[in-house]
């Protein structure tokens, strides 16, 4: 277990500079946006900021996707089993997500303190105010799901040959096209699909726990697929 913790720390620390740059940019934006808005619109003008956590989710997914090669090959250099790497990688995802929840909450708190800014979190937009715990659990669940999904795509991409890699890049377009074609073929109402999709994230009911549950199911599925993909993975790159 000791070495799992060591690997976890190393994997988690590999992207610290990327996160520092990202949050430096976010803070700069947070500082200059109100100044810009006030100087353009005059005293009393308010800048509305929303969707920061959503963007961080995409960012953490991209990080998880691109950093797989580096973290996996580091463990292979040190002759560490794939199973141990898999566990350490997931623990690193949990730690990173928890850290990001703290950072995002701090940023949100600071933003709300600025008079010229009207800050609305994504949670509030979808589920209303909610309790402190439900807000943090939802955000944590969102970051974990995004990271695990990113890791899964990273693993599949690493394992894939050139043709399959192109397919992975095109998969969002293929998925949308296939869904539309299937919906037309089976004469399914698109609004029904959207209603089900929104329902699974609790948008209609305003219940964030539904979204957390969906996130847990997606995370578990991605983890199971990632484990199957990683069991016999071999080094692909290197010089």
């Amino acid at each position: 277990m000791e070495s799992v913790w060591v690997i976890t720390k190393r994997i988690a620390s590999m992207n610290k500079f990327t996160f520092i740059i990202y949050y430096a940019f976010v803070l700069l934006l947070g500082a200059f946006l109100p100044i810009g808005v006030v100087s353009a619109g005059g005293e009393g003008t308010v800048a509305t900021i929303s969707g920061g956590e959503l963007f961080t989710g995409f960012f953490i997914m991209a990080i998880a996707l691109t950093s797989f090669t580096q973290s996996f090959e580091y463990t292979q250099f040190l002759n560490i089993s794939r199973k141990k790497f898999f566990i350490a990688n997931f623990v690193a995802v949990l730690i990173t997500s928890l850290t990001l929840v703290v950072i995002e909450s701090t940023i949100a708190y600071l933003m709300m303190k600025i008079e010229a800014v009207e800050y609305t979190s994504i949670f509030t937009s979808f589920y209303g105010e909610g309790s402190f715990i439900s807000r943090k659990v939802w955000l944590f669940s969102y970051f974990v799901t995004a990271s695990v999904l990113g890791s899964l795509i990273g693993i599949l991409y690493y394992r894939a040959n050139q043709l399959f890699r192109i397919l992975i890049w095109c998969s969002p377009i293929i998925a949308i096209f296939a869904s539309v074609r299937l919906a037309i073929y089976f004469r399914v109402d698109a609004s029904w699909i959207l209603a089900k999709l929104f329902g699974s994230y609790g948008f209609q009911s305003g219940n964030s726990n539904v979204a957390v549950l969906t996130g847990a199911i997606v995370t578990t599925t991605c983890l199971a697929l990632a484990y199957l993909a990683i069991r016999k993975i071999t080094i692909k790159s290197g010089e």
Binding site: V6, R10, L78, N79, S81, I235, S237, E239
Partner: protein, 287 residues
């Protein structure tokens, strides 16, 4: 006991067979040389031993246990790969620190001392190192790991003659201080021949020879002279390489029980000579 046993191992990549039914034992506490031409299957074999890849058939045991996904066994080995897979933006000293966290017997002082002797700047990032210094970094990490089993895949890649010499001397010194199982895979046979105890020659995915260097060289000799006379001497004898210039030729005779016919050689005016490992290797691996 850091003994490696390979039983009926075959490795296929699609339709290509990289290794075919390999049966091999690397005895503990010896320096083994894994020799073969490019593409013979040396790296594939090392990758299989260290579980970087999986065999298509057969089984590999290290210290009596399967190495597949076995952290206890994997931690007894340190593999200096030919590829550079350590995070490239990491500094050398940091990489040593990371290694010491996993390999508890890693000797940081020794790593620093070797770095100074090889003039490896430990505050440099790995990506800033030249090919030769990347090899030096990996070699130092391997030597300082103090692992029971050390595997070197083309360890002197990109190294100049001075550093190559230093590396071989250090390898011997390290081994003499603390005996361990060492496998060196290379095609630079002449340089490595003096440090090897056992030699495994691999050709097109098959093991064609496994013997101690001493026995191999003792069981072979060269015979040189006029073409027809050499041919006469070689009649009913096992030989592996014949090189001719004009009317003269030289052959390497390889016999299990050395049976030099000195009288016949004198009568035919032939000359005996010692075999060099490199020449023997070339003869054995000729197509």
């Amino acid at each position: 006991m850091s003994r490696i046993e390979i039983n009926g191992v075959t490795k296929k990549y699609g339709k290509t067979t990289a290794l075919k039914n390999v049966n091999l034992v690397f005895e503990a506490n010896k320096i083994h040389g894994l020799l073969g031409r490019n593409g013979a299957g040396k790296t594939t074999l090392l990758n299989l031993i260290t579980n970087k890849i999986f065999p298509t058939e057969g089984e590999i045991t290290v210290c009596g246990e399967s190495a597949i996904e076995n952290d206890k066994v994997l931690n007894t080995m340190f593999y200096m790969m030919e590829q550079n897979i350590f995070p490239k933006s990491t500094k050398v000293i940091e990489a040593f620190r990371w290694t010491s966290e996993i390999y508890k017997s890693f000797d940081m002082d020794y790593a620093k001392e070797l770095s100074a002797r090889f003039e490896l700047n430990t505050s440099k990032k790995i990506k800033q190192l030249s090919t030769g210094y990347k090899s030096i970094f990996k070699a130092i990490a391997t030597l300082a790991s103090n692992a029971e089993i050390m595997l070197f895949d083309e360890p002197v890649l990109g190294l100049d003659a001075y550093h190559r010499d230093m590396f071989y001397a250090e390898l011997i010194d390290n081994y003499s201080k603390n005996q361990k199982t060492i496998i060196v895979s290379t095609h630079l046979i002449e340089e490595v021949s003096n440090i090897l105890e056992e030699v495994i020659i691999i050709k097109k995915g098959r093991i064609i020879k496994q013997e101690s260097v001493e026995n191999l060289l003792l069981s072979s000799y060269t015979i040189a002279g006029e073409n027809s006379k050499v041919d006469e001497y070689l009649k009913d004898r096992e030989y592996v390489g014949v090189n001719g210039i004009g009317e003269f030729k030289k052959a390497i005779v390889l016999e299990k029980n050395i049976n030099k016919d000195i009288n016949l050689a004198n009568k035919l005016d032939l000359k005996f000579g010692k075999t060099e490992l490199q020449k023997l290797f070339i003869s054995l691996t000729e197509s």
